[in-house]
Structures are given as C-alpha cells and as structure tokens.
C-alpha cells in the first residue's frame, strides 16, 4: 500500500517541485543582480560612463567575470563548457575532475559497505561485541569524523600511499558507520513469529541467517547505503582539500577560492551536487526495487 502512495506521490509533487525550483532560479537572478550591482556601478564610474540604462546595468551584473554571485546561466555555461567542450583528458575538464572524485568516493563507499556489513554480522552474532563495540560505533556517529580527513591523507602520504587510496580510505571510513548501524538494526529486525517459525523447523543459525535475517535486513541496508554514499562523496571532496590536490572537485573548489574564480567554484559545486544526487537516487531506486521485491519497507 505504501508503494501505491509513493507512486501517486511522485506525480502529485512534480508540479510543486518544478514551481519551487523556478522560484529559486528567479530569486537567484535577483540576488545575483543585487549582490553584483555595487561592483558593476564601480566599473561604470571608473570608465566615466555615467549614462547607462537599467537594462545595461542589469545585463552587466549578470556577465561579470568574477561576480560575487554568478547567475545561473553563467554557471550552466561554465558547466557546459567544461564538460562537453573540453576533452575528458584535459585538466580543465570538469568530467575529468568529477571522475577523480567519483572513483575515490565509489571505491570508498564499496569498501565501507562491505566492511560495515561484515562488522554488523559479527556484532549481531557475538554478544560481547554487541555490548562492547556497538556503543562506540553509535557514539562515533556523533563525532565530527571528517575532521580527521586531512591527517589521514597526510599520514598516508608520509608512508608512501598516494593518489586514489587515501581519499577512498576516508570515504570508506565515513560510509562504514551508517552501514554498521543500519545493518545491525536490520539483522535484528525479524518479527518474533518469523524467528519462532525458524525455531520450529529446528533451522541452524546459518539457515536462519540466509533465509530470514539477511532478507529482512536488506531494506535497512539500502536506507543506510543512501546515507553512506552521500557522505562518501563529501569525504572524497574534503579529502582533496588538505594536500593541495591537483585533481578532483575538491581541488577545483580550493583553486577557485584561491583565485576568486567564483564561477568555477559554483560549477564544481553544482557538479558535485548533481553527482551526489545521482548516486543517492540510484541507490534509492535500487532500494525501492528491493523493497518492492521484499514486499516491505523499513518505514512500515
């Protein structure tokens, strides 16, 4: 029944979402004009141009080279220029940089998910681990783990591990925790009567795991994987900051902030957001398929 609702929900929220997006774009333009206005006036004054029309002024604010707030079409143009027009191998291609960030994020996400599942199984099947380790895993979620990112990068660099791996390591570290927590919850989620049923069959623990606990945990796994993939992306981007990395979306952000290239910052940000959204949507989509197959959802 929940599925029916969500299907109807998609169509029913499509128009409002579009309207809200349009309003955001309009506000963005207004803000861009407003924020860039002082600088544009400055330019005209210095050029001794006192007779400018309002339209000239407005179009000027929207086409500065380093605006305080670039207008949406400037960002779109920059994204287009750096994705479609540049060769993928070029250092200025946004696809190249996205690829760098994406590969470390995905590698880290995959490793973190596998590790998280393994640890969750260990925790669920060992009472001592459950009581001793689990509180720390939960507590560690409240800690700003991302703060260790620069140190991990530098330390790993110091012992000669460079490139993709250190960044993937941070993504792994970050995506690992939500998976453990979600998976432990999921493996413990079978209904009492469902586990009692297994007991009446005198099923072994391994049989109960494969036939009951694992299938029941899948919806929880996908819910936490959505969180994990988003945070893996953040991890990969932040991991590119401290070493002055030359490639990746984080490096683009950093370089842009050094040289005041606001359009470059915004385009990197838009690209990062698109990628993250895409990943979350893909995982969510797989999750929905699995949930439908399982005939249930963790939210009931």
């Amino acid at each position: 029944m929940t599925k029916m609702n969500s299907k109807r929900g998609f169509r029913y929220s499509f128009v409002p979402v579009m309207v809200v997006l349009c309003v955001i774009v309009v506000f963005w333009y207004l803000a861009a004009v407003f924020l860039n206005l002082p600088w544009q006036r400055d330019i005209y004054e210095r050029a001794g141009n006192t007779e400018y029309s309002v339209t000239e002024l407005v179009s000027g604010t929207l086409s500065q080279e380093r605006p305080v707030l670039p207008s949406p079409h400037q960002v779109a143009q920059e994204v287009y220029k750096t994705t479609v027009e540049k060769k993928i191998t070029s250092k200025r291609s946004l696809i190249f940089h996205s690829g760098v960030t994406l590969s470390s994020a995905l590698l880290g996400f995959a490793l973190g998910t596998v590790l998280g599942i393994v640890l969750a199984v260990a925790i669920v099947y060992n009472r001592a681990l459950n009581k001793s380790l689990m509180p720390w895993v939960i507590a560690s979620q409240t800690i700003p783990i991302l703060a260790v990112a620069p140190m991990i990068i530098v330390v790993l660099n110091a012992i000669g591990i460079q490139g993709l791996l250190p960044k993937a390591f941070i993504s792994m570290y970050l995506s690992f925790f939500p998976v453990v927590v979600g998976m432990v919850k999921g493996l413990n989620s079978p209904e009492v009567s469902h586990s009692d049923l297994m007991r009446t069959y005198n099923a072994s623990a391994a049989q109960t795991f494969w036939k009951l606990r694992l299938p029941t945990s899948l919806p929880y796994l996908f819910t936490s994987m959505k969180v994990a993939v988003a945070i893996a992306m953040v991890g990969a981007i932040v991991a590119e900051l401290p070493t002055g990395a030359v490639a990746g979306l984080g490096a683009r952000l950093l370089a842009g902030s050094y040289y005041g290239q606001t359009i470059q910052i915004w385009s990197a940000l838009v690209m990062a957001s698109l990628l993250a959204a895409l990943l979350v949507v893909i995982i969510g989509w797989i999750g929905t398929l699995v949930n439908r197959r399982m005939g249930m959802s963790p939210h009931g």
């Binding site: 009567s193 007991r199 009446t200 069959y201 036939k211 009951l212 399982m294 249930m296």
Partner: protein, 269 residues
C-alpha cells in the same frame, strides 16, 4: 528419525505437573502452574481461556519455544526439544507469518528447504498441500497480494508440508472476521477428518472451540492453570448448523461456566 517409541503408545503429548515461571524485573510471573494433560492420537484439543491464562504459553512449551521450569513433558515419547529436532509438529501462528519476499509456493517450501529435501520432493509436497487448503493456482503470488484468510490458509499449508502427525495452532483465525473464520473452521475440520492428525488449537472463542474440538481444555489465569477438561460428545462429522443444536449449546454453556468460574477465582484482585 524413528517413530518406534511413539507408535507403541497412543499418547502423543504427556504433561505431568508442569509449571513455568518467568523471572522479570518486576518479580516472578507464574505463567503456568501444575499442568497435567494427556493428548491422544487423533484428538482435536482446544485450549480456551481469557488472555493471560497461559494457553499460548502451554502451546509454546509443547513446541519447545519456551522451556518449562518444573515438571515433565513428552511429545511423541521424547522431550519437546528432540521432537522439534525431528520436525514432529507443524506450528501455525496467530498471524500468518509468511515471509513477504517469498512467493506462496516458496513460503510453503521454506521448511522443506531447511530439512534439505530434494527440489522434486519439495515441488510435489507444495503442490499437494496448496491443493489441500484450496490455494492451487496461487503459487506465484506474493503473500501481500492475498487476503487475510488466504494467507492463513497458506500458513496452514506450510505447517502441513512438513507432514507432521501433530499440528499446533495458536489462535490461527483470531485476526480474521467472523465470516472468513467460519469458513476456515469448516475447512479445518474437513482437513482434520481427511488427514487424521492430532491438533492442538488455542482460541478465545467459545463457539470455535466447541465446534472444532473433541476435547476442550478450559484454563484460568494467575497462575495459569487448567480449570476443567470437557469431553465433547458431538458427532465427528459436523457442519456449521450444529451450532444451533441443544447439544452444542449445552457444551458451550459448560465452557462458559468454566470460564466464568475460573475468572471469579481472582475477582478479588
């Protein structure tokens, strides 16, 4: 997996002086106290009583889902644990408890997979048992695509697929509406007549207990114990119309009196 010990005797379940006390943080809870009960092969025995009288707990002790703290119990001549290991019984829960990610056929096949039967044997038994509960043709459906009554029938098929002599049913029709329940009661009786299994049935409905059973065990709460055991003299092949007969009503009244007496027992609380 020999049934030699069981076949020599006609007693399927033998309970002596059985008690079960749950230790909780609020002190002990006497779920069952001093239960004596024998169940003979081919019997249809109902446990009836108000909530908290331990009827479900008693069934769970028979199924080795709970352990008695005192007394003796044997199922098929062995301990409940050994009986469970031999897959000597089929258990039907109050909710259908079908796994939502398995089709109806796969759900019925679940215990057979766990027992390690060959896929040909599984197929045969699934088809046979679904036929038995009138669910042939629904193999490929998922549980949530079926009505509540159909789901419960599928769960009965799942319990029968183990081919047990003993069927333990814990308020299997409690969550269904009266019309569906009547229908399933009729089907269950037919099934019982056809397969000649021993059935232990937990319910809180007097008409259901009287209609189905050969023996009715009336239980009372705090501590959970047997108040009365009523033998039914109704003929074995019954239709729903029997519920209008004076014999039926007399039996129902006896059960009701028993329940009332058991209840007044702790009215002063």
């Amino acid at each position: 997996m020999s049934n030699t010990t069981a076949s020599t005797s006609d007693q399927v379940i033998n309970i002596n002086n059985l008690s079960l006390t749950f230790q909780t943080s609020d002190g002990p809870v006497f779920a069952l106290s001093d239960i004596d009960l024998d169940i003979t092969r081919g019997d249809f025995v109902s446990f009836i009583g108000p909530s908290g009288c331990g009827k479900t707990t008693l069934l769970r002790v028979i199924a080795d889902l709970e352990k008695a703290t005192e007394g003796n119990i044997s199922v098929n001549g062995v301990t409940p644990e050994q009986a469970r290991a031999q897959r000597a019984y089929g258990y039907v829960f109050q909710a259908a408890s079908l796994y939502p990610w398995r089709t109806i056929a796969k759900n019925v096949a679940l215990p057979l997979e766990i027992m390690g039967l060959s896929s040909a044997e599984r197929k045969k038994r699934v088809a046979h048992n679904l036929e038995l509960v009138n669910l042939a043709g629904f193999e490929k459906k998922y549980p949530w695509q079926l009505s509540g009554g159909m789901q419960q029938r599928a769960s009965i098929a799942r319990a029968l697929a183990v081919e047990p002599d003993l069927l333990l049913m814990d308020e299997p029709f409690g969550a269904l509406d009266e019309i569906v329940r009547d229908h399933l009661n009729e089907q269950l009786l037919a099934l019982w007549a056809k397969t000649n299994k021993t059935v232990v049935f937990v319910t809180h409905s007097i008409p259901e207990a009287v209609y189905l059973s050969t023996r009715i065990v009336v239980m009372s709460p705090r501590p959970g114990q047997i108040h009365d055991i009523i033998e039914s003299d109704l003929p074995k092949d019954r239709t729903l119309d029997i519920r209008e007969t004076p014999e039926f009503l007399a039996l129902a009244n006896r059960v009701r009196d028993g329940l009332r007496a058991g209840h007044s027992y702790d009215e002063d609380e």
